[in-house]
Symmetry: C2
Subunit: 126 residues, 2 copies
């Protein structure tokens, strides 16, 4: 069970990535990696953990709502606010991957790398 | 107050767009346009309206939560499920723009066109 190398690879390969985390839907982070280049200060300043717990709660609701909708299971959600882009992707029914980007960060690359990283994390969780 | 031309332009300029709508946070659509090329059947099949009312409810919660977070006001949210990509963008505190895309649709283009369209809709709402 080693998530850190995957989170480090994710953060370092996406321009503008501040931090990435594997979180449970109970709001508890299993593992987090913050970018060396200003990620720690920015993450603290924006209180990323606080935001992610709230967003995770909404993703949980979405997951539940999706069962009554005809649009299929929810795989991914993103929230873009003034100071932060947050992308979330389901890893298992209990855990999700979350990445925080600066607003000018590479959104498309982040989505792509998350899609590749999620199955690797799932394998570690097994 | 003429939203339809903006919604038509949006749907026709984004590959894979099924429908677009201006919705209030009360869950009522002010105006909707569905793509001529299969949009009507797909929108009915996926029950887009049902999904959007639920998603709008979550966006409302996000908007409220954002006031307690340090990440700034929420401008945009997207939910990607198996059969549908949904993008939402705040137009005013009461109304939002929502677009449904096929999973293989042009996500980046949709975000871009929504960013341009939102101020035009806001002007119509005034």
């Amino acid at each position: 069970m080693s998530f850190l190398p995957h989170l480090e690879a994710l953060v370092s390969s996406v321009d503008g990535a501040i931090a990435a985390s594997v979180m449970g839907f109970d709001g508890i982070a299993v593992e987090t990696h913050q970018s060396k280049s200003g990620g720690v200060e920015t993450a603290a300043e924006l209180d990323l953990t606080g935001a992610w717990v709230e967003y995770g709660n909404l993703l949980q609701q979405l997951k539940n709502v999706a069962q009554t909708l005809k649009t299929g299971a929810v795989a991914e959600m993103s929230v873009n606010s003034d100071k932060l882009i947050t992308l979330m992707r389901l890893v298992t029914p209990e855990y999700f991957l979350v990445v925080g980007l600066k607003p000018e960060g590479n959104y498309g690359k982040a989505r792509y790398v998350m899609r590749i990283t999620a199955p690797k994390l799932k394998a570690e969780l097994a």
